[in-house]
Symmetry: C2
Subunit: 264 residues, 2 copies
Amino acid sequence: MYVIGERINGMFADVKQAIREKKADVIQELARRQMAAGAWALDVNVGPAVADGKGAMLWLVETIRAVSDAPLAIDTAKWEVMAAVVPQVPGHVILNSSKADPEIAAKYAGLAAEHNGSLIGLTIDAAGVPGNSEKRVELGAQLIATAMEAGLPTDRLFIDPIILPVNVSSKTPVDCLEAIAQIRAFSDPPPHLLLGLSNVSQRCSNRGLINRTYLSMCIAKGLDSAIMDPLDTELINSAITAELLTGKMIYCDSYLEAARSSKQ
Amino acid sequence: MYVIGERINGMFADVKQAIREKKADVIQELARRQMAAGAWALDVNVGPAVADGKGAMLWLVETIRAVSDAPLAIDTAKWEVMAAVVPQVPGHVILNSSKADPEIAAKYAGLAAEHNGSLIGLTIDAAGVPGNSEKRVELGAQLIATAMEAGLPTDRLFIDPIILPVNVSSKTPVDCLEAIAQIRAFSDPPPHLLLGLSNVSQRCSNRGLINRTYLSMCIAKGLDSAIMDPLDTELINSAITAELLTGKMIYCDSYLEAARSSKQ
């Protein structure tokens, strides 16, 4: 399970304040703790309402790089921020994210390929978030084709079928399960399948329970990556156990510890 | 989720002693507690090493019936016990279980049909437990055909693809996930898909975590029933949440309580 830690995001109050006051230690501690807890990469998002998005993103990248060489997912919806920051990220960079419209995706995939990076492609186009699994699969296929044409290998493409909160749409969790299974089934080699997991439980009660249950279900369908909170121990335990039960590791009594230390 | 409570089983020390000493209150309390916790039916197994299996089973049935009209799953590998007990069970009876060999399954399905009961059919035949998903699917199809010929409607047939402990076979959990999806996909109407869940974690550490993670994964693949421990609150919460995320209910903040009370 390729876990991308979600905590360095300006929508969280501690990170928002750290960005505003340039408190590097807060960011570095979040980087260290997420990596120690089970993350393989770190998402980096300056959050809404930051005047100089590019400057804040570059400061975050530099601050994190001082303590970690983890792959960094540059999380911005603005092309100008992405285009300016990506060339300046030392080590592996993940572009988070592109929509599926071919003219947009081609630009992002080209930038990712140029910098030996990876790309998260959303199954959204000009018409918005699809209302069914079929359209998600269609846009997933479109993303795969566009990435290939742009010279980005499929194993550096992450398809995100876009999960909505279960209290807003009771059908979307089912549609995403189906889309994950189908995109994995038809493509060889398959891209990574990824979700912004926490979104499934936004403004719900029992958030932890909903997140870890849905993650286990998605792994059964072929999900192999998620942007999620690695500091949620029960969530990471569920992810490791689900991978054990899909045959990705051999059982031993200390399999939870073994999985954690094998990452180091 | 059709939960069949597993706790009235002579392999547990308290039940073994209660059977030996005819302590009805111990059995009745287990029946009441399992039903209150989320079971829809109760498994009844006298356990190994009981001299008069038929007599002990009839005593258990009578003892439970004094406090509950729940469907009872008569859990015995002996045909003579099954054939003697099933006609004497008031209310709904589930035969647990038959192997898939047609001559055996026909006998069990006929007995189930005759008493308006249900049948749990195992994907095991004379060659033993299959080593892959394909053979499980083949034996599942065989069980469906045999049940139909015997006059047992498919919605009263539960197919159990036989889970082995993950510490014994790392591949079986994957095979069962695949078999569940395929048997559900090819048959219309589909039978119920069931597992003896606790078996996946036998003699493992983190049993609760393994059980609830695997249950969520199986529900994503189409499992709709399990013989399991309803007294494990976290397990029942996972089952309810997984069903929420497959669109079987609409979210509300008290969805866990709502699901529990809707059963009553």
